[in-house]
Symmetry: C2
Subunit: 174 residues, 2 copies
Amino acid sequence: MKKDALLDAAETVLSEHGTQALTLAAVADRAGVSKGGLLYHFPTKEALVKALVTRVIEEFDDLIAEHDDGSPGSYTRAYVEATFTVFTEGDRTHRRWSAITAAATDPELAEPLNEAMARWHGRGRGEDPDPVTASVVRLAAEGLWEVMSHAPEVYGDAELAALRQRLLALLDAG
Amino acid sequence: MKKDALLDAAETVLSEHGTQALTLAAVADRAGVSKGGLLYHFPTKEALVKALVTRVIEEFDDLIAEHDDGSPGSYTRAYVEATFTVFTEGDRTHRRWSAITAAATDPELAEPLNEAMARWHGRGRGEDPDPVTASVVRLAAEGLWEVMSHAPEVYGDAELAALRQRLLALLDAG
DNA sequence: CCGACTGTACCGTCCGGTCGGTACAGTTAA
DNA sequence: TTAACTGTACCGACCGGACGGTACAGTCGG
């Protein structure tokens, strides 16, 4: 779909030049389209950003689902695996994510993000054997996003691997 | 100092109306000062935001220091305590923090924040007995910021208390 | 011909930053 | 004593540019 190409362009602009560079003109330019053309598909900038956010959330949900075999307690494990998949992919998936969430700080733009957060970290889901341990593990994965966004030099490949192993081990021990 | 009053005003605007409401006019208005008066103290908006960020970082550093008794492995424990202090304070300290970090997504504005992140999560600091466990615990604390900002309903007082206890227990067991 | 789609010219607003000026509290010096 | 001068704090009108959004004329495949 053409919309996806436009969203791709928006993501590129965002991750290359930051939040305040995300203008309709810049996105249209990047997509090889005029501003009018862009506005035809996304009637407003808010619509564009909202689409950006929801797409990225869907992507991550899919990634979780790929690792979730439905067994009890499998969700938290899948969440961990999905997170580390993003960071070990040579692809800058996590740059995209960080840039997008940064762009969605304003009022209702964050709404889909808040909803996703509540879903990802909500308790009462997979009837974890040890819910507190599961929370700790999920929170650590969440925190990793933050640290990798602001100080990627802190965790190299080796540390990431050790971290992943430890988080999974915690789930097994719980 | 007058500058602190201006920063207070900026924080108020930020946490009440979000990032894009942070205009020089709004801050000046909130502080009961004209735009010119505000610009006198902070020659540019970037200077204002940077001051905002560094002040909040200092505050958190102080909070950590309050809980750090210097004993081996004490830093990570202090980091956890500082984090939970912020969330259990009736004060909306964490709203302020979230709002400010959200405002500092752009290029060099995030620099002090990145430096702080690297410091807070950098290994090789307190010669932790079990560095991986310490990392997990710090990351979980970090993740808590994110979750509390976007979905505060997920963790109530009871869950927070349980979480805190568990994180400290992990450090003892490590 | 028709509707999906594109391009361009333009508008209004908002916002960061500039600038000339004011008020006033010292300080100096005749 | 007082007039000239200086530095600090602050004011508010204004400017220039950017940016979101609109209007509208065109294009092109079916």
